[in-house]
């Protein structure tokens, strides 16, 4: 048990506006897995017992508590579970590098349309994107048509929170017009 106190990036309480909730996800384990040239099949074999496989671009798969999300060329993040010991790939701890915000509710997509240039009209669970949250790097995981996980640099957490909550606030004011 460490003597040092672990702190989340924000420690901010969730906000709900127009039945849509923005919250900071709890700290978890995030591991970057980057197979070497020709090594994806071996990685998939190693992940098989977890019910996962190396993901195709723009996809994420969840099995139990673990999500494996495509994050770039020959790179995926394993979120929520430690990596298998017998993985032959470049494996890097990314647990503290990211802040994860969850945005869910009927106005989630409208809120994202203020911040992210992606076409999310047909957003469905299992999609994932590398994009931009205004000027910040973004990993966007679609957990459902109205449920999203947004990951950006931990150091930018305050700006990310401010910008997403601001967008949601404006949406709320629009919704109040009826």
């Amino acid at each position: 048990m460490p003597d040092l106190i672990a702190k989340p990036a924000l420690g901010t309480a969730a906000v709900t506006i127009a039945a849509t909730t923005l919250a900071e996800a709890a700290l978890t384990t995030i591991t970057a897995i980057a197979p070497y040239p020709g090594g994806e099949a071996a990685v998939t074999r190693a992940l098989h017992p977890m019910g996962l496989a190396f993901p195709a671009p723009n996809t994420a798969r969840t099995a139990g508590n673990a999500t494996l999300v495509w994050t770039g060329r020959a790179q995926a993040f394993l979120i929520g579970a430690p990596p298998p010991a017998d993985l032959t790939a470049a494996v890097t701890d990314q647990s503290d590098a990211w802040v994860t915000l969850t945005l869910s509710g009927p106005q989630a997509r409208a809120t994202l349309s203020r911040l992210v240039p992606l076409d999310l009209r047909h957003a469905t669970s299992g999609q994932a994107f590398r994009s931009a949250l205004n000027h910040m790097p973004l990993i966007l995981i679609v957990d459902g048509p109205e449920a999203f996980r947004l990951m950006t640099f931990r150091s930018m957490a305050r700006t990310a929170w401010a910008e997403v909550s601001h967008a949601l606030t404006l949406i709320g004011a629009r919704s109040a017009l009826g």
Binding site: M1, P2, D3, L4, I5, A6, K7, P8, A9, L27, A32, A34, Y36, P37, A74, Q75, A89, A90, V91, T92, D93, Q94, S95, D96, A97, W98, S113, R114, V116, P117, L118, D119, R121, N134, H135, M136, F153, R154, S155, M156, A157, R158, T159, A160, A162, E163, H166, A167, T169, L170, G172, A173, R174, A176, L177
Partner: protein, 972 residues
């Protein structure tokens, strides 16, 4: 005045507005323009140049005259078109470009001086004498320039930016746009329908026409209800599509809160970026005027605007209406007005074969040749053949024909084509990929034609979208042919206005041609025609027709000027929504941020990061006192600093060593596990890209450190080198900058501090690394130094950063040490002669900074060949040196160096200063500089001159390392 029983305003909801201090009654649904007309306000503005009284000319966003300031609680919006601004309870607006009042404007003296203020006046007058320019002409022009005024305060209004995506974007909701949206919507396509005004319907709401034998507005209501019932259709009212861009992207401005009382958090406007697979432009057409003498009196307006004001808002701007035109549009207006009980004194029709009209007199083959009534039209003069007569009238509606709204089709370099039949420009096909043009925007002017064209454009678009087009029955509507005889300007001697907004007359255009500015683009700039907020919507076609006449060319040969976005003015605040103050860029905060602020540290921006500048102690009144103390503390005791901002890149793979050898100038593959090496990286052009340390954590596992400034740049560079040159290598890398919080512990007491924190002595050689567990947390300990003292950096996962920082701070303080900030860090590294991006600023080479021996001769690396080019090495280069003033005088970065006794001129420049600081250790100011052939000039005295900050000091040239040049302390 109001006409009972007409208009779509909500008469059950009266509101009160204020214009120029007068309270006026209006109804919900009115625009400011219709409310002013209802209250018989005739003069609403003053023209730009001559300050002539002007009234409302149009009923739409093209309005050139009725520009007002809308006064909000905390803002003032100038150049608001009264025809666009909707009323709400408490709306306050005032006229602009007049002083002291709209009725009496001192600057109207310009109108009397008009003979001296012709086109090109500015260019001819303000050229000489040259010395008058700054002192007299410029202030004079600045005072006269512009229309409305801003409040002078920051705009703290809320604005929004958003993206939207659809299969089909329909621009405009008249008969063509509505029919297109209905057809595509029924087929299940994702449709966005944008309508500029508050209500869907376009001219169907303005013209009092019939569809399927009933009032057209009934059909509009049904269509609106059906579109609202389709989940795949999104109707965006009050939204103007302002620009067409690459890849089916459109800009659009939505008025979200401008038409209602301000509410907290409700955006004033939203700037949309709409990405559409296909688009249909159904933006209609704009009616154009006819130039004749004094055609700018208040009370003279577009004939179609009279129809809009009557049918949409139930107002008419006078009691006795006259119409003047060259096509049948005047008939439609006349019938509407007469049916509403408004007297139409006469129709002046320029066509000799014009049809008669029941209920009024038609003067065929006649033209208006003059008007009277400075503050409001009283009378017009008409010439018919050789006879001239006068008609008493307070409203003159003009129709010179219709200009299809081709603007968006030209935003990607398309040019419209001249249609002699329509006497108008029509869009060229295919000018915007994926866009079809339908209805009046394409030169189809009958209601039936518009409905059919809209349906057809939707069918073609649906096919392109791989959807089956439904059978849609076309409703019945009028299909009258468009009959026009072109007439641009009535010949005469007086001033006949073309561009109302910028006060450009027929004579000005002719003068432009006469003076050699005969190309339409030159004419535009010479006369300023089309350069006002309306961007020539009301005048450009007529102006170029007049130009064609003056130059003896045809209209198609003369051509149009370039149509550029935006179609209507877009506030910068909307385009920059969210970017005010700290919204301008993301802010990056250290895990130690709060701990540093708790100690009163002022934060400075380093890129996007916020880093502590210094940590003031009680009694210290200047930053220098704190900085000097912190430097001395590190040199004599121990200091702690957060260095997490430095870039950290985790590199793994069998070929990682080879890869590093290729990107660094020096060799890394030979570095033993557990050791750290300093490396230098070049750009492909041979200049220094970055420097930093790289650690070998395991046989195939490395950790690269970059400077804070170049962290992203180096990551991108590695990606480029990997993908372009070494794609087959077994190497993978990822940024871990954000994962680790890393703290420097430096000074003679560093080892003791770490021993207390770790519970054991670190026992680490200089440039060594070890895995450690610090208070139960696994981390990494590096023995590296940027201060010249015995130095360590300890890294833990970021979640423990704040806790470790506070812990190390407390331990340092009990030892007589403490925190040091960026100022002290900078002085420490200058004393030691360490470089930052102040020195490796992009124009220096490894040779310049004295590190040419670090470029290994045994291997190739990025930039090596380019760094060996002639001129990249040698005595001619500015080389890194140290500077020490001969007297106790501050020196400045940015100063230039000169040999004593030479003139201080550019030609004698010997180099420049990059970094300075006061060294409490050496009790002297110190500088780092680049001096021509500097390494051979140690010991020389050089003159440092900074004209900007008035510094002129003699300095001794030294080695750049001032402190512990043998590195004994570092390696202790």
């Amino acid at each position: 005045m109001r006409i009972d029983g007409k208009g779509r305003v909500d008469r059950s909801r009266p509101v009160t507005i204020t214009f120029d201090g007068r309270k006026l009654p209006a109804y919900k649904g009115d625009t400011l323009a219709s409310a002013l007309i209802a209250n018989d306000v005739r003069v609403v503005g003053r023209s730009f140049k001559y300050h002539r009284p002007r009234g409302i000319l149009t009923a739409g966003s093209e309005e050139p005259n009725a520009l007002v300031e809308v006064i909000g609680h905390a803002n003032q919006t100038p150049n608001t078109r009264a025809t666009v601004q909707e009323v709400f309870e408490g709306l306050v607006a005032q006229s602009q470009n007049r002083w002291p009042s709209l009725a009496f404007d001192v600057m109207a003296v310009n109108d009397l001086a008009a003979p001296f203020l012709s086109a090109g006046f500015y260019y001819k007058t303000f050229m000489w004498p040259r010395r008058f320019w700054e002192g007299i002409y410029e202030p004079l022009i600045r005072r006269a320039a512009g229309l409305g005024r801003l409040s002078g305060k920051h705009d703290e209004g809320v604005y929004e930016k958003a993206w939207a995506h659809c299969d089909l974007l329909v621009i405009g909701s008249g008969p063509a746009g509505l029919m297109a949206a209905l057809t595509a919507g029924r087929a299940g396509a994702d449709v966005i329908l944008c309508e500029e005004t508050a209500e869907v319907g376009g001219r169907l709401l303005s013209d009092d026409g019939q569809i399927d034998g009933a009032p057209a507005e009934n059909w509009v209501d049904l269509a609106v209800a059906e579109l609202a019932s389709l989940p795949n259709v999104r109707v965006m009212v009050r939204t103007t599509v302002t620009g067409a861009y690459d890849d089916g992207t459109f800009g659009a401005l939505e008025r979200v809160g401008l038409h209602r009382r301000p509410r907290p958090n409700l955006p004033r406007e939203c700037f949309w970026r709409i990405v559409a697979r296909r688009s249909i432009l159904a933006a209609g057409a704009l009616e154009r005027g006819i130039a004749f003498e004094n055609n700018d009196r208040p009370g003279i307006m577009m004939a179609s605007a009279l129809g809009t004001f009557l049918n949409r808002y139930g107002v008419v701007p006078g009691r006795e209406v006259t119409l003047f035109g060259n096509n049948d549009s005047t008939r439609l207006t006349a019938r509407c007005l007469m049916a509403a009980g408004v007297s139409v004194a006469a129709i002046i029709d320029a066509r000799a074969d014009a049809p008669d009209e029941a209920g009024t007199t038609v003067h065929k083959g006649a033209v208006v040749i003059g008007t009277r009534g400075r503050m409001g039209l009283r009378e017009i003069a008409v010439r018919k053949g050789s006879t001239e007569f006068r008609v008493a009238t307070d409203v003159l509606g003009i129709s010179g024909g219709w200009n299809p709204t081709v603007h968006l089709t030209c935003h990607m370099n398309g040019r419209p084509q001249w249609s002699p039949d329509l006497a108008a420009f029509v869009p060229s096909g295919g000018a915007i990929p994926g866009m079809l043009v339908a209805g009046a925007a394409n030169g189809t002017f009958s209601t039936h034609g518009c409905l059919a064209a809209g349906a057809q454009a939707a069918r073609v678009s649906l096919t392109a979208l791989d959807r089956v087009a439904p059978d849609v029955a076309l409703p019945q509507a009028e299909d009258a042919p468009y009959r026009i005889a072109p007439l641009w300007a009535v010949p005469g001697t007086g001033r006949a206005w073309l561009d109302f907004a910028n006060d450009v007359t027929v004579k000005d255009v002719a003068l432009s041609a006469q003076e050699g500015f005969a190309s339409v683009e030159h004419m535009k700039r010479y006369t300023t025609q089309g350069m006002a907020p309306d961007q020539g919507k009301n005048s450009s076609v007529a102006a170029l027709a007049v130009l064609a006449d003056a130059t003896g060319r045809g209209i198609p040969e003369t051509g149009t000027t370039t149509f550029r976005p935006p179609y209507t003015p877009v506030s910068i605040a909307a385009m920059g929504a969210g970017a005010r103050a700290e919204g301008f860029a993301p802010q990056r905060f250290l895990t130690s941020d709060q701990a540093s602020r708790d100690r009163g540290a002022p934060m400075i921006e380093a890129g996007l990061w916020y880093r502590p500048s210094y940590f003031p102690k009680p009694g210290e009144t200047t930053w220098r006192q704190a900085c000097d103390r912190e430097v001395t503390m590190v040199r004599t005791s121990v200091g702690v600093a957060d260095v997490s901002t430095l870039g950290k890149i985790d590199i793994q793979g069998r070929d990682a060593g080879r890869f590093l050898d290729f990107v660094y100038t020096n060799t890394f593959s030979t570095l033993p596990v557990g050791r750290v090496r300093y490396g230098l990286m070049l750009r492909e052009d041979g200049h220094v890209l970055d420097d930093g340390t790289t650690t070998r954590l395991a046989e195939d596992h490395w950790l690269m450190t970059t400077t804070t400034a170049a962290a992203g740049l180096v990551m991108r560079h590695l990606d480029f080198v990997h993908q372009a040159f070494c794609a087959s290598m077994d190497v993978r890398f990822i940024s871990v900058t954000e994962h680790w919080a890393q703290f420097a512990v430096a000074g003679p007491g560093a080892r003791d501090l770490l021993a207390s924190a770790l519970g054991r002595a670190p026992g680490l050689p200089f440039m060594g690394v070890q895995a450690v567990t610090i208070q139960g947390v696994p981390g990494r300990l590096f023995r590296i130094s940027f201060s010249g003292e015995e130095g360590y950096e300890i890294a833990v996962p970021a979640r423990y950063g704040e806790a470790l920082f506070r812990d190390l701070t407390a331990r340092a303080e009990t030892m007589g040490g403490g925190l040091y900030g960026m100022e002290a860090l900078n002085v420490l590294r200058i004393e030691k002669g360490f470089i930052t991006h102040a020195e490796i600023h992009g124009r220096t080479t490894a040779f310049d900074i004295g590190m040419d021996r670090m470029v290994s001769a045994k291997k190739d690396c990025i930039g090596k060949a380019a760094a060996a080019r002639p001129g990249m090495v040698g005595a001619g280069r500015d080389q890194l040196v140290g500077l020490k003033p001969l007297t106790d005088t501050p020196i400045t970065a940015g100063a230039h160096l000169f040999v004593q006794g030479t003139a201080i001129t550019r030609e004698n420049d010997q180099g420049y200063v990059t970094s300075v600081g006061y060294s409490p250790t050496l009790a002297s100011w110190l500088g780092l500089a680049f001096l021509q052939n500097g390494r051979a000039r140690h010991g020389e005295t050089i003159r440092l001159v900074d004209h900007l900050r008035k510094v002129d000091v003699l300095c001794s040239v030294t080695d750049p390392v001032f402190h512990d040049s043998e590195g004994a302390k570092l390696r202790a």
